[in-house]
Amino acid sequence: MTGNIPFNIPFVAVAALISIAIYIIISQRNLIKIVMGISILAAGINLFLITLGYREGGVAPVYTHAPTGVVAEMVLPVPQALTLTSIVIAVATLALMLSLVISIYRHTGSIDSEESRKMKG
Protein backbone atom coordinates (compact mmCIF):
# COMPACT_ATOMS: atom_id res chain seq x y z
CA MET A 1 0.00 0.00 0.00
CA THR A 2 1.80 3.08 -1.19
CA GLY A 3 0.34 6.49 -1.13
CA ASN A 4 -1.16 6.81 -4.58
CA ILE A 5 -4.69 5.77 -3.69
CA PRO A 6 -7.03 8.49 -2.50
CA PHE A 7 -7.72 7.00 0.95
CA ASN A 8 -6.51 4.18 3.15
CA ILE A 9 -8.07 0.94 2.03
CA PRO A 10 -7.44 -0.99 5.28
CA PHE A 11 -9.43 1.52 7.31
CA VAL A 12 -12.26 1.44 4.81
CA ALA A 13 -12.20 -2.36 5.06
CA VAL A 14 -12.42 -2.07 8.83
CA ALA A 15 -15.41 0.23 8.60
CA ALA A 16 -17.12 -2.09 6.13
CA LEU A 17 -16.50 -5.19 8.24
CA ILE A 18 -17.74 -3.59 11.44
CA SER A 19 -20.88 -2.19 9.86
CA ILE A 20 -21.71 -5.49 8.13
CA ALA A 21 -21.16 -7.32 11.42
CA ILE A 22 -23.42 -5.00 13.38
CA TYR A 23 -26.09 -5.29 10.74
CA ILE A 24 -25.90 -9.08 10.92
CA ILE A 25 -26.07 -9.21 14.69
CA ILE A 26 -29.06 -6.92 14.83
CA SER A 27 -31.15 -8.23 11.98
CA GLN A 28 -30.56 -11.97 11.71
CA ARG A 29 -32.71 -14.48 13.50
CA ASN A 30 -30.65 -17.57 13.00
CA LEU A 31 -28.41 -18.09 16.02
CA ILE A 32 -25.48 -19.42 14.01
CA LYS A 33 -25.59 -16.32 11.84
CA ILE A 34 -25.43 -14.15 14.94
CA VAL A 35 -22.33 -16.03 16.05
CA MET A 36 -20.84 -15.52 12.59
CA GLY A 37 -21.62 -11.83 12.87
CA ILE A 38 -19.67 -11.63 16.10
CA SER A 39 -16.78 -13.42 14.42
CA ILE A 40 -16.78 -10.85 11.62
CA LEU A 41 -16.89 -8.04 14.21
CA ALA A 42 -13.86 -9.51 15.94
CA ALA A 43 -12.06 -9.79 12.61
CA GLY A 44 -12.81 -6.18 11.78
CA ILE A 45 -11.52 -4.90 15.09
CA ASN A 46 -8.38 -7.03 14.90
CA LEU A 47 -7.74 -5.60 11.44
CA PHE A 48 -8.21 -2.13 12.89
CA LEU A 49 -5.62 -2.81 15.57
CA ILE A 50 -3.02 -4.03 13.09
CA THR A 51 -3.70 -1.24 10.63
CA LEU A 52 -3.18 1.49 13.15
CA GLY A 53 0.31 0.23 13.77
CA TYR A 54 1.38 0.51 10.17
CA ARG A 55 4.13 2.89 9.26
CA GLU A 56 4.87 3.81 5.68
CA GLY A 57 7.49 1.51 4.24
CA GLY A 58 8.07 -0.23 7.54
CA VAL A 59 9.32 -3.75 8.09
CA ALA A 60 8.37 -6.44 10.52
CA PRO A 61 9.35 -5.45 14.07
CA VAL A 62 11.99 -8.09 14.69
CA TYR A 63 15.41 -7.06 15.87
CA THR A 64 17.42 -10.05 14.69
CA HIS A 65 18.46 -9.84 11.03
CA ALA A 66 16.78 -6.48 10.75
CA PRO A 67 17.51 -4.74 7.46
CA THR A 68 19.72 -1.78 8.10
CA GLY A 69 20.53 1.07 5.81
CA VAL A 70 17.81 3.01 4.09
CA VAL A 71 14.76 1.35 5.57
CA ALA A 72 15.12 1.33 9.34
CA GLU A 73 11.59 1.99 10.45
CA MET A 74 9.54 -0.74 12.01
CA VAL A 75 5.85 -1.31 12.18
CA LEU A 76 4.54 -0.89 15.71
CA PRO A 77 4.73 -4.20 17.56
CA VAL A 78 2.36 -3.50 20.44
CA PRO A 79 -0.87 -3.58 18.44
CA GLN A 80 0.23 -6.91 17.03
CA ALA A 81 0.52 -8.25 20.57
CA LEU A 82 -2.93 -6.85 21.35
CA THR A 83 -4.32 -8.50 18.24
CA LEU A 84 -2.87 -11.90 19.11
CA THR A 85 -4.42 -11.71 22.55
CA SER A 86 -7.72 -10.65 21.06
CA ILE A 87 -7.72 -13.51 18.56
CA VAL A 88 -7.17 -16.03 21.35
CA ILE A 89 -9.97 -14.53 23.42
CA ALA A 90 -12.28 -14.50 20.41
CA VAL A 91 -11.61 -18.20 19.82
CA ALA A 92 -12.59 -19.04 23.39
CA THR A 93 -15.70 -16.86 23.17
CA LEU A 94 -16.82 -18.38 19.88
CA ALA A 95 -16.30 -21.90 21.21
CA LEU A 96 -18.50 -21.12 24.19
CA MET A 97 -21.17 -19.49 22.04
CA LEU A 98 -21.34 -22.40 19.65
CA SER A 99 -21.65 -24.92 22.45
CA LEU A 100 -24.50 -22.88 23.91
CA VAL A 101 -26.20 -22.85 20.50
CA ILE A 102 -25.95 -26.64 20.40
CA SER A 103 -27.51 -26.80 23.83
CA ILE A 104 -30.37 -24.50 22.79
CA TYR A 105 -30.93 -26.65 19.72
CA ARG A 106 -31.22 -29.74 21.85
CA HIS A 107 -33.88 -28.15 23.97
CA THR A 108 -36.00 -26.34 21.45
CA GLY A 109 -35.31 -28.21 18.26
CA SER A 110 -34.59 -25.14 16.17
CA ILE A 111 -31.93 -22.49 15.98
CA ASP A 112 -34.27 -19.70 15.11
CA SER A 113 -33.96 -17.10 17.80
CA GLU A 114 -37.67 -16.33 17.64
CA GLU A 115 -38.48 -19.90 18.62
CA SER A 116 -36.20 -19.90 21.62
CA ARG A 117 -37.34 -16.61 23.09
CA LYS A 118 -39.28 -18.15 25.88
CA MET A 119 -38.69 -15.31 28.25
CA LYS A 120 -40.39 -12.09 27.38
CA GLY A 121 -41.45 -9.06 29.29
Binding site: I34, I38, I45, L100, I104
Partner: protein
Protein backbone atom coordinates in the same frame (compact mmCIF):
# COMPACT_ATOMS: atom_id res chain seq x y z
CA UNK B 1 -0.87 -11.86 44.33
CA UNK B 2 -4.53 -11.37 44.94
CA UNK B 3 -5.14 -12.03 41.28
CA UNK B 4 -2.71 -14.88 41.00
CA UNK B 5 -4.14 -16.98 43.80
CA UNK B 6 -7.62 -17.45 42.37
CA UNK B 7 -6.13 -18.11 38.96
CA UNK B 8 -3.83 -20.75 40.33
CA UNK B 9 -6.54 -22.22 42.51
CA UNK B 10 -8.88 -22.35 39.53
CA UNK B 11 -6.56 -24.58 37.63
CA UNK B 12 -5.67 -26.74 40.60
CA UNK B 13 -9.30 -27.40 41.47
CA UNK B 14 -9.99 -30.17 38.95
CA UNK B 15 -6.87 -31.98 40.03
CA UNK B 16 -7.78 -31.86 43.67
CA UNK B 17 -11.35 -32.75 42.83
CA UNK B 18 -10.24 -36.11 41.64
CA UNK B 19 -9.07 -36.93 45.13
CA UNK B 20 -12.36 -36.30 46.80
CA UNK B 21 -15.23 -33.90 46.83
CA UNK B 22 -14.60 -32.72 50.35
CA UNK B 23 -10.96 -31.88 49.68
CA UNK B 24 -11.94 -29.73 46.78
CA UNK B 25 -14.53 -27.85 48.76
CA UNK B 26 -12.10 -27.15 51.55
CA UNK B 27 -9.50 -26.03 49.05
CA UNK B 28 -11.84 -23.56 47.40
CA UNK B 29 -12.98 -22.13 50.70
CA UNK B 30 -9.48 -21.74 52.08
CA UNK B 31 -8.15 -20.10 48.95
CA UNK B 32 -11.00 -17.62 48.89
CA UNK B 33 -10.67 -16.95 52.61
CA UNK B 34 -6.95 -16.36 52.15
CA UNK B 35 -7.66 -13.96 49.32
CA UNK B 36 -10.15 -12.13 51.49
CA UNK B 37 -7.57 -11.87 54.23
CA UNK B 38 -5.02 -10.46 51.80
CA UNK B 39 -7.57 -7.94 50.55
CA UNK B 40 -8.20 -6.72 54.08
CA UNK B 41 -4.50 -6.33 54.75
CA UNK B 42 -4.09 -4.41 51.53
CA UNK B 43 -7.07 -2.25 52.40
CA UNK B 44 -5.56 -1.29 55.70
CA UNK B 45 -2.28 -0.54 54.05
CA UNK B 46 -3.86 1.67 51.44
CA UNK B 47 -5.93 3.49 54.00
CA UNK B 48 -2.81 4.41 55.91
CA UNK B 49 -0.31 4.91 53.15
CA UNK B 50 -2.07 5.93 49.98
CA UNK B 51 -2.16 4.13 46.72
CA UNK B 52 -0.04 1.22 45.66
CA UNK B 53 1.55 0.51 42.36
CA UNK B 54 2.93 -2.85 41.46
CA UNK B 55 4.83 -3.32 38.25
CA UNK B 56 4.80 -6.78 36.81
CA UNK B 57 8.39 -7.84 36.59
CA UNK B 58 10.28 -4.72 37.49
CA UNK B 59 10.82 -2.63 40.56
CA UNK B 60 9.56 0.69 39.35
CA UNK B 61 7.17 1.76 36.65
CA UNK B 62 9.45 3.96 34.61
CA UNK B 63 12.86 2.49 33.84
CA UNK B 64 15.79 4.85 33.96
CA UNK B 65 16.01 7.03 30.92
CA UNK B 66 12.45 6.50 29.70
CA UNK B 67 9.63 8.96 29.82
CA UNK B 68 6.71 6.58 29.73
CA UNK B 69 5.87 3.49 31.77
CA UNK B 70 6.80 0.33 30.03
CA UNK B 71 5.29 -2.70 31.68
CA UNK B 72 1.84 -3.74 32.80
CA UNK B 73 0.98 -2.05 36.03
CA UNK B 74 -1.37 -2.99 38.78
CA UNK B 75 -2.50 0.11 40.53
CA UNK B 76 -4.66 -0.12 43.59
CA UNK B 77 -6.15 2.92 45.21
CA UNK B 78 -9.01 3.24 47.66
CA UNK B 79 -11.73 2.72 45.10
CA UNK B 80 -10.11 -0.41 43.69
CA UNK B 81 -9.62 -1.95 47.08
CA UNK B 82 -13.19 -1.07 47.97
CA UNK B 83 -14.44 -3.03 44.98
CA UNK B 84 -11.98 -5.75 45.93
CA UNK B 85 -13.55 -6.02 49.36
CA UNK B 86 -16.98 -6.38 47.79
CA UNK B 87 -15.73 -9.06 45.44
CA UNK B 88 -13.95 -11.03 48.14
CA UNK B 89 -16.90 -10.97 50.53
CA UNK B 90 -19.57 -11.89 48.02
CA UNK B 91 -17.52 -14.62 46.43
CA UNK B 92 -16.79 -16.23 49.78
CA UNK B 93 -20.46 -16.15 50.69
CA UNK B 94 -21.49 -17.44 47.28
CA UNK B 95 -19.13 -20.40 47.58
CA UNK B 96 -20.45 -21.26 51.03
CA UNK B 97 -23.95 -21.10 49.62
CA UNK B 98 -23.06 -23.21 46.62
CA UNK B 99 -21.97 -26.15 48.66
CA UNK B 100 -25.44 -27.37 49.24
CA UNK B 101 -27.21 -25.53 46.46
CA UNK B 102 -25.45 -27.52 43.80
CA UNK B 103 -26.10 -30.83 45.46
CA UNK B 104 -28.20 -32.19 42.66
CA UNK B 105 -25.81 -31.25 39.91
CA UNK B 106 -22.90 -33.07 38.36
CA UNK B 107 -19.64 -31.57 37.28
CA UNK B 108 -18.77 -29.83 40.52
CA UNK B 109 -15.14 -29.58 39.51
CA UNK B 110 -15.92 -27.43 36.54
CA UNK B 111 -18.30 -25.29 38.55
CA UNK B 112 -15.70 -24.31 41.12
CA UNK B 113 -13.02 -23.88 38.51
CA UNK B 114 -15.20 -21.48 36.59
CA UNK B 115 -16.17 -19.70 39.78
CA UNK B 116 -12.54 -19.14 40.72
CA UNK B 117 -11.80 -17.93 37.20
CA UNK B 118 -14.67 -15.48 37.49
CA UNK B 119 -13.29 -14.21 40.79
CA UNK B 120 -9.82 -13.85 39.28
CA UNK B 121 -11.28 -11.93 36.35
CA UNK B 122 -13.11 -9.54 38.62
CA UNK B 123 -10.09 -8.89 40.81
CA UNK B 124 -8.05 -8.27 37.69
CA UNK B 125 -10.53 -5.74 36.38
CA UNK B 126 -10.55 -3.89 39.65
CA UNK B 127 -6.84 -3.79 40.34
CA UNK B 128 -5.34 -3.12 36.95
CA UNK B 129 -3.79 0.12 35.88
CA UNK B 130 -3.58 -0.75 32.24
CA UNK B 131 -6.37 -0.47 29.68
CA UNK B 132 -5.63 -3.60 27.74
CA UNK B 133 -5.32 -5.62 30.90
CA UNK B 134 -8.79 -4.32 31.73
CA UNK B 135 -10.05 -5.74 28.45
CA UNK B 136 -8.41 -9.12 29.02
CA UNK B 137 -9.84 -9.52 32.49
CA UNK B 138 -13.22 -8.28 31.29
CA UNK B 139 -13.25 -11.10 28.77
CA UNK B 140 -12.12 -13.65 31.36
CA UNK B 141 -14.93 -12.62 33.66
CA UNK B 142 -17.48 -12.64 30.81
CA UNK B 143 -16.59 -16.06 29.49
CA UNK B 144 -16.50 -17.78 32.87
CA UNK B 145 -19.64 -15.94 33.91
CA UNK B 146 -21.53 -17.04 30.81
CA UNK B 147 -20.43 -20.63 31.22
CA UNK B 148 -21.63 -20.54 34.82
CA UNK B 149 -24.98 -19.04 33.87
CA UNK B 150 -25.66 -21.86 31.47
CA UNK B 151 -24.40 -24.43 33.93
CA UNK B 152 -27.64 -26.25 34.46
CA UNK B 153 -28.26 -27.18 30.90
CA UNK B 154 -31.03 -29.58 31.67
CA UNK B 155 -33.39 -26.64 31.96
CA UNK B 156 -34.42 -25.14 28.65
CA UNK B 157 -33.86 -21.53 29.52
CA UNK B 158 -30.39 -21.69 31.04
CA UNK B 159 -28.43 -21.92 27.79
CA UNK B 160 -30.59 -19.19 26.34
CA UNK B 161 -29.67 -16.85 29.18
CA UNK B 162 -26.04 -17.85 28.88
CA UNK B 163 -26.07 -17.25 25.12
CA UNK B 164 -27.55 -13.79 25.56
CA UNK B 165 -24.96 -12.98 28.18
CA UNK B 166 -22.01 -14.09 26.10
CA UNK B 167 -23.24 -12.31 22.96
CA UNK B 168 -23.77 -9.06 24.82
CA UNK B 169 -20.47 -9.37 26.66
CA UNK B 170 -18.56 -10.18 23.48
CA UNK B 171 -19.98 -7.19 21.65
CA UNK B 172 -19.29 -4.78 24.48
CA UNK B 173 -15.78 -6.14 25.03
CA UNK B 174 -15.01 -5.73 21.33
CA UNK B 175 -16.21 -2.15 21.52
CA UNK B 176 -13.85 -1.61 24.46
CA UNK B 177 -11.04 -3.04 22.36
CA UNK B 178 -11.90 -0.63 19.56
CA UNK B 179 -11.67 2.31 21.94
CA UNK B 180 -8.36 1.01 23.30
CA UNK B 181 -7.09 0.86 19.74
CA UNK B 182 -8.13 4.48 19.28
CA UNK B 183 -6.22 5.47 22.40
CA UNK B 184 -3.13 3.59 21.34
CA UNK B 185 -3.22 5.09 17.87
CA UNK B 186 -3.16 8.56 19.28
CA UNK B 187 -0.91 8.39 22.29
CA UNK B 188 1.13 5.22 21.95
CA UNK B 189 0.29 4.46 25.58
CA UNK B 190 -1.92 1.95 27.26
CA UNK B 191 -1.43 2.77 30.89
CA UNK B 192 -4.36 4.56 32.49
CA UNK B 193 -2.21 6.93 34.52
CA UNK B 194 0.01 7.85 31.59
CA UNK B 195 -3.00 8.29 29.31
CA UNK B 196 -4.64 10.57 31.81
CA UNK B 197 -1.61 12.77 31.82
CA UNK B 198 -1.21 12.88 28.06
CA UNK B 199 -4.88 13.28 27.28
CA UNK B 200 -5.90 16.04 24.93
CA UNK B 201 -9.56 16.11 24.23
CA UNK B 202 -9.54 15.58 20.49
CA UNK B 203 -12.35 14.31 18.30
CA UNK B 204 -11.07 10.76 18.42
CA UNK B 205 -11.00 10.96 22.20
CA UNK B 206 -14.62 11.97 22.24
CA UNK B 207 -15.45 9.00 20.04
CA UNK B 208 -13.48 6.71 22.30
CA UNK B 209 -15.25 8.06 25.36
CA UNK B 210 -18.65 7.57 23.75
CA UNK B 211 -17.77 4.01 22.76
CA UNK B 212 -16.41 3.20 26.21
CA UNK B 213 -19.43 4.60 28.03
CA UNK B 214 -21.77 2.70 25.73
CA UNK B 215 -19.82 -0.54 26.05
CA UNK B 216 -19.68 -0.48 29.83
CA UNK B 217 -23.28 0.64 30.09
CA UNK B 218 -24.28 -2.40 28.03
CA UNK B 219 -22.26 -4.65 30.30
CA UNK B 220 -23.87 -3.01 33.29
CA UNK B 221 -27.46 -3.44 32.36
CA UNK B 222 -28.57 0.13 32.10
CA UNK B 223 -31.58 1.02 30.05
CA UNK B 224 -31.85 0.98 27.05
CA UNK B 225 -29.40 -1.89 26.88
CA UNK B 226 -30.84 -3.90 29.72
CA UNK B 227 -32.62 -6.63 27.84
CA UNK B 228 -30.14 -9.33 28.67
CA UNK B 229 -30.18 -8.76 32.40
CA UNK B 230 -33.50 -10.24 33.55
CA UNK B 231 -33.11 -13.30 31.34
CA UNK B 232 -29.59 -13.99 32.51
CA UNK B 233 -30.09 -13.31 36.19
CA UNK B 234 -33.18 -15.42 36.46
CA UNK B 235 -31.80 -18.62 34.99
CA UNK B 236 -28.42 -18.66 36.62
CA UNK B 237 -27.91 -20.68 39.78
CA UNK B 238 -28.53 -18.30 42.64
CA UNK B 239 -24.98 -17.94 43.89
CA UNK B 240 -23.83 -17.25 40.36
CA UNK B 241 -26.33 -14.45 40.08
CA UNK B 242 -24.77 -12.84 43.13
CA UNK B 243 -21.36 -13.17 41.51
CA UNK B 244 -22.57 -11.80 38.20
CA UNK B 245 -23.87 -8.83 40.11
CA UNK B 246 -20.39 -8.13 41.38
CA UNK B 247 -19.06 -8.57 37.84
CA UNK B 248 -21.50 -5.90 36.68
CA UNK B 249 -20.27 -3.72 39.48
CA UNK B 250 -16.71 -4.28 38.37
CA UNK B 251 -17.75 -2.94 34.95
CA UNK B 252 -19.34 -0.03 36.77
CA UNK B 253 -16.00 0.52 38.49
CA UNK B 254 -14.29 0.48 35.08
CA UNK B 255 -16.79 3.02 33.77
CA UNK B 256 -16.14 5.38 36.64
CA UNK B 257 -12.43 4.86 36.49
CA UNK B 258 -12.58 5.95 32.85
CA UNK B 259 -14.87 8.90 33.38
CA UNK B 260 -13.15 10.28 36.43
CA UNK B 261 -9.54 9.31 36.33
CA UNK B 262 -8.84 8.94 32.67
CA UNK B 263 -10.59 12.05 31.54
CA UNK B 264 -10.93 14.06 34.69
CA UNK B 265 -11.56 17.72 34.16
CA UNK B 266 -10.63 17.69 30.52
CA UNK B 267 -13.98 16.51 29.34
CA UNK B 268 -17.17 18.41 28.88
CA UNK B 269 -18.41 17.64 32.35
CA UNK B 270 -21.91 18.98 32.21
CA UNK B 271 -22.79 16.96 29.14
CA UNK B 272 -21.25 13.68 30.17
CA UNK B 273 -22.51 14.09 33.72
CA UNK B 274 -26.03 14.65 32.48
CA UNK B 275 -25.77 11.68 30.15
CA UNK B 276 -24.87 9.46 33.09
CA UNK B 277 -27.68 10.99 35.16
CA UNK B 278 -30.21 10.41 32.41
CA UNK B 279 -29.07 6.81 32.01
CA UNK B 280 -29.45 6.36 35.75
CA UNK B 281 -32.93 7.86 35.82
CA UNK B 282 -34.12 5.76 32.90
CA UNK B 283 -32.78 2.61 34.50
CA UNK B 284 -34.42 3.38 37.81
CA UNK B 285 -37.76 4.17 36.35
CA UNK B 286 -38.05 1.46 33.73
CA UNK B 287 -36.47 -1.10 36.03
CA UNK B 288 -38.98 -0.65 38.75
CA UNK B 289 -42.03 -0.32 36.54
CA UNK B 290 -41.23 -3.51 34.73
CA UNK B 291 -40.67 -5.21 38.04
CA UNK B 292 -44.26 -4.58 39.01
CA UNK B 293 -45.72 -6.91 36.42
CA UNK B 294 -43.37 -9.83 36.87
CA UNK B 295 -44.55 -13.22 38.02
CA UNK B 296 -41.15 -14.81 38.16
CA UNK B 297 -39.43 -14.10 41.42
CA UNK B 298 -35.89 -13.88 40.15
CA UNK B 299 -36.87 -11.70 37.19
CA UNK B 300 -38.49 -9.35 39.65
CA UNK B 301 -35.32 -9.11 41.66
CA UNK B 302 -33.32 -8.71 38.45
CA UNK B 303 -35.40 -5.70 37.43
CA UNK B 304 -34.81 -4.34 40.89
CA UNK B 305 -31.11 -4.72 40.16
CA UNK B 306 -31.51 -2.53 37.10
CA UNK B 307 -33.27 0.03 39.25
CA UNK B 308 -30.58 0.05 41.91
CA UNK B 309 -27.74 0.39 39.45
CA UNK B 310 -29.66 3.39 38.17
CA UNK B 311 -29.37 4.87 41.64
CA UNK B 312 -25.63 4.37 41.64
CA UNK B 313 -25.33 5.99 38.23
CA UNK B 314 -27.45 8.89 39.44
CA UNK B 315 -25.22 9.53 42.41
CA UNK B 316 -22.02 9.33 40.45
CA UNK B 317 -23.42 11.29 37.52
CA UNK B 318 -24.19 14.18 39.85
CA UNK B 319 -20.67 13.98 41.17
CA UNK B 320 -19.30 13.90 37.64
CA UNK B 321 -21.35 16.89 36.57
CA UNK B 322 -19.96 19.10 39.31
CA UNK B 323 -16.40 17.87 39.13
CA UNK B 324 -15.00 21.08 37.74
CA UNK B 325 -16.75 23.33 40.20
CA UNK B 326 -14.84 23.30 43.47
CA UNK B 327 -17.48 24.97 45.58
CA UNK B 328 -20.27 22.68 44.56
CA UNK B 329 -17.93 19.74 44.75
CA UNK B 330 -17.10 20.41 48.34
CA UNK B 331 -20.67 20.77 49.46
CA UNK B 332 -22.49 18.02 47.67
CA UNK B 333 -20.37 16.51 44.93
CA UNK B 334 -18.26 14.42 47.23
CA UNK B 335 -21.33 13.38 49.15
CA UNK B 336 -23.02 12.28 45.95
CA UNK B 337 -20.03 10.23 44.87
CA UNK B 338 -19.67 8.78 48.33
CA UNK B 339 -23.35 7.90 48.40
CA UNK B 340 -23.10 6.23 45.02
CA UNK B 341 -20.11 4.16 46.09
CA UNK B 342 -21.77 3.23 49.37
CA UNK B 343 -24.78 2.18 47.39
CA UNK B 344 -22.56 -0.04 45.28
CA UNK B 345 -21.63 -2.15 48.25
CA UNK B 346 -25.15 -2.08 49.61
CA UNK B 347 -26.50 -3.13 46.26
CA UNK B 348 -24.16 -6.10 46.13
CA UNK B 349 -25.15 -7.07 49.65
CA UNK B 350 -28.90 -6.89 49.56
CA UNK B 351 -29.40 -7.97 45.97
CA UNK B 352 -27.09 -10.87 46.74
CA UNK B 353 -29.22 -11.73 49.75
CA UNK B 354 -32.43 -11.52 47.74
CA UNK B 355 -31.08 -13.73 45.00
CA UNK B 356 -29.81 -16.27 47.51
CA UNK B 357 -33.23 -16.37 49.16
CA UNK B 358 -34.91 -16.82 45.79
CA UNK B 359 -32.48 -19.61 45.09
CA UNK B 360 -33.34 -21.20 48.40
CA UNK B 361 -37.02 -21.17 47.49
CA UNK B 362 -36.24 -22.65 44.10
CA UNK B 363 -34.13 -25.34 45.73
CA UNK B 364 -36.99 -26.45 47.88
CA UNK B 365 -39.98 -26.22 45.63
CA UNK B 366 -38.54 -26.20 42.13
CA UNK B 367 -40.40 -23.25 40.70
CA UNK B 368 -39.82 -19.53 40.45
CA UNK B 369 -43.33 -18.55 39.53
CA UNK B 370 -44.96 -16.37 42.16
CA UNK B 371 -48.42 -17.48 41.12
CA UNK B 372 -47.68 -20.99 42.24
CA UNK B 373 -46.16 -20.14 45.57
CA UNK B 374 -48.05 -19.50 48.70
CA UNK B 375 -47.79 -19.74 52.42
CA UNK B 376 -44.14 -20.61 52.55
CA UNK B 377 -43.58 -18.36 55.53
CA UNK B 378 -45.07 -20.90 57.88
CA UNK B 379 -42.64 -23.55 56.76
CA UNK B 380 -39.48 -21.59 56.05
CA UNK B 381 -39.49 -19.05 58.81
CA UNK B 382 -35.87 -18.06 58.67
CA UNK B 383 -35.86 -17.63 54.92
CA UNK B 384 -38.89 -15.40 54.98
CA UNK B 385 -37.32 -13.14 57.59
CA UNK B 386 -34.23 -12.85 55.43
CA UNK B 387 -36.31 -11.98 52.40
CA UNK B 388 -38.13 -9.30 54.34
CA UNK B 389 -34.80 -7.89 55.48
CA UNK B 390 -33.45 -7.78 51.96
CA UNK B 391 -36.63 -6.22 50.61
CA UNK B 392 -36.71 -3.50 53.25
CA UNK B 393 -33.04 -2.77 52.77
CA UNK B 394 -33.56 -2.48 49.04
CA UNK B 395 -36.33 0.05 49.42
CA UNK B 396 -34.29 2.19 51.74
CA UNK B 397 -36.07 1.76 55.04
CA UNK B 398 -34.12 2.58 58.19
CA UNK B 399 -32.29 1.03 60.00
CA UNK B 400 -30.91 -0.95 57.09
CA UNK B 401 -28.01 0.03 54.92
CA UNK B 402 -30.14 0.97 51.93
CA UNK B 403 -31.43 3.89 53.91
CA UNK B 404 -27.94 5.21 54.67
CA UNK B 405 -26.75 5.22 51.10
CA UNK B 406 -30.03 6.46 49.68
CA UNK B 407 -30.23 9.37 52.07
CA UNK B 408 -26.75 10.42 50.98
CA UNK B 409 -27.82 10.30 47.36
CA UNK B 410 -31.11 12.09 48.01
CA UNK B 411 -29.53 14.93 49.93
CA UNK B 412 -26.83 15.62 47.42
CA UNK B 413 -29.00 15.18 44.37
CA UNK B 414 -31.62 17.46 45.87
CA UNK B 415 -29.13 20.27 46.03
CA UNK B 416 -28.16 19.64 42.47
CA UNK B 417 -31.60 19.48 40.97
CA UNK B 418 -34.69 18.84 43.12
CA UNK B 419 -36.66 16.94 40.52
CA UNK B 420 -34.12 14.13 40.39
CA UNK B 421 -34.36 13.51 44.10
CA UNK B 422 -38.15 13.42 43.94
CA UNK B 423 -38.00 10.83 41.16
CA UNK B 424 -35.60 8.84 43.31
CA UNK B 425 -37.96 8.83 46.26
CA UNK B 426 -40.89 7.82 44.06
CA UNK B 427 -38.89 4.93 42.68
CA UNK B 428 -38.02 3.76 46.16
CA UNK B 429 -41.68 3.74 47.12
CA UNK B 430 -42.57 1.67 44.08
CA UNK B 431 -39.74 -0.72 44.96
CA UNK B 432 -41.27 -1.21 48.37
CA UNK B 433 -44.63 -1.94 46.78
CA UNK B 434 -43.10 -4.49 44.43
CA UNK B 435 -41.38 -6.34 47.20
CA UNK B 436 -44.44 -6.33 49.41
CA UNK B 437 -46.34 -7.95 46.60
CA UNK B 438 -43.65 -10.59 46.23
CA UNK B 439 -43.44 -11.20 49.95
CA UNK B 440 -47.14 -11.55 50.40
CA UNK B 441 -47.66 -13.87 47.52
CA UNK B 442 -44.74 -16.10 48.33
CA UNK B 443 -44.66 -16.26 52.06
CA UNK B 444 -47.94 -15.43 53.65
CA UNK B 445 -51.35 -16.87 53.22
CA UNK B 446 -52.48 -20.43 53.74
CA UNK B 447 -50.13 -23.25 53.07
CA UNK B 448 -50.82 -24.84 49.70
CA UNK B 449 -51.26 -28.60 49.97
CA UNK B 450 -48.53 -29.49 47.55
CA UNK B 451 -45.95 -27.72 49.68
CA UNK B 452 -46.78 -29.41 52.91
CA UNK B 453 -43.50 -31.21 53.38
CA UNK B 454 -41.15 -28.40 52.43
CA UNK B 455 -38.51 -28.00 55.08
CA UNK B 456 -36.07 -25.27 55.87
CA UNK B 457 -33.01 -24.92 53.69
CA UNK B 458 -29.76 -26.72 54.50
CA UNK B 459 -27.23 -25.24 56.82
CA UNK B 460 -24.56 -23.96 54.48
CA UNK B 461 -27.05 -21.94 52.52
CA UNK B 462 -28.29 -20.55 55.78
CA UNK B 463 -24.82 -19.50 56.84
CA UNK B 464 -24.28 -17.67 53.58
CA UNK B 465 -27.54 -15.80 53.73
CA UNK B 466 -27.26 -15.03 57.41
CA UNK B 467 -23.79 -13.56 56.96
CA UNK B 468 -25.10 -11.20 54.33
CA UNK B 469 -28.00 -10.24 56.54
CA UNK B 470 -25.72 -9.51 59.47
CA UNK B 471 -23.52 -7.30 57.33
CA UNK B 472 -26.57 -5.47 56.04
CA UNK B 473 -27.84 -4.73 59.51
CA UNK B 474 -24.40 -3.69 60.72
CA UNK B 475 -23.92 -1.29 57.85
CA UNK B 476 -27.31 0.14 58.53
CA UNK B 477 -26.62 0.76 62.18
CA UNK B 478 -23.16 2.22 61.79
CA UNK B 479 -23.12 4.12 58.50
CA UNK B 480 -20.71 6.69 59.79
CA UNK B 481 -18.03 4.11 60.31
CA UNK B 482 -18.50 2.76 56.81
CA UNK B 483 -18.34 6.23 55.37
CA UNK B 484 -15.17 7.13 57.15
CA UNK B 485 -13.29 3.94 56.49
CA UNK B 486 -14.52 2.78 53.17
CA UNK B 487 -16.42 5.16 51.00
CA UNK B 488 -14.96 8.60 51.65
CA UNK B 489 -11.41 7.54 50.79
CA UNK B 490 -12.80 5.86 47.71
CA UNK B 491 -14.67 8.98 46.66
CA UNK B 492 -11.63 11.11 47.23
CA UNK B 493 -9.51 8.72 45.26
CA UNK B 494 -11.89 9.03 42.37
CA UNK B 495 -11.79 12.80 42.37
CA UNK B 496 -8.10 13.07 42.95
CA UNK B 497 -6.84 12.30 39.52
CA UNK B 498 -3.43 13.75 40.21
CA UNK B 499 -2.52 11.19 42.82
CA UNK B 500 -3.31 8.36 40.46
CA UNK B 501 -1.10 9.75 37.74
CA UNK B 502 1.65 10.51 40.19
CA UNK B 503 1.75 6.94 41.34
CA UNK B 504 2.68 5.85 37.86
CA UNK B 505 4.77 8.65 36.53
CA UNK B 506 6.56 9.73 39.66
CA UNK B 507 6.79 13.43 40.22
CA UNK B 508 5.43 15.13 37.16
CA UNK B 509 8.15 17.24 35.57
Amino acid sequence: MIIAIPLLAAFLTPLIGRISGKARNTFVITSLAFVGFLVIILARDIFLNGLHVYTLGATEPIPAGYMVPVRIMLEVDSLSIFMGIITATISLIAVIYSFSFMKGETGHNRFYTLLLLLVAGMFGMEFTGDMFNLFVFLEIASISGAALVAFRIRFADSPEGGFKYIVVSAISALMVLFAIGLFYAQYNLLNIGALAQAMQYTMLDKMALAILIAAFAIKLGTVPMHMWLPDTYSVAPASITAMLLVASQASMYALFRICFTLYGVTLNLATVGWIVIVLGLLSMFIGVTMAVRQTDLKRLIAYNCVCESGFILLGLGVGLAVLGNPGALATYGTMAISGGIFHMINHALFEGLLFLVAGAIFYRIGTRNLNEMGGLGHLMKFTSILFLLGALASSGIPPFNGFASKILIYESVYQFNPILAIIGILVSIITLAVFMKAFFSAFTGPVLPKYKDVREVPKSMMIGMATLAVIIVLFGLFPGLVREWLTDPAANALINQGAYIEGIMGVVP
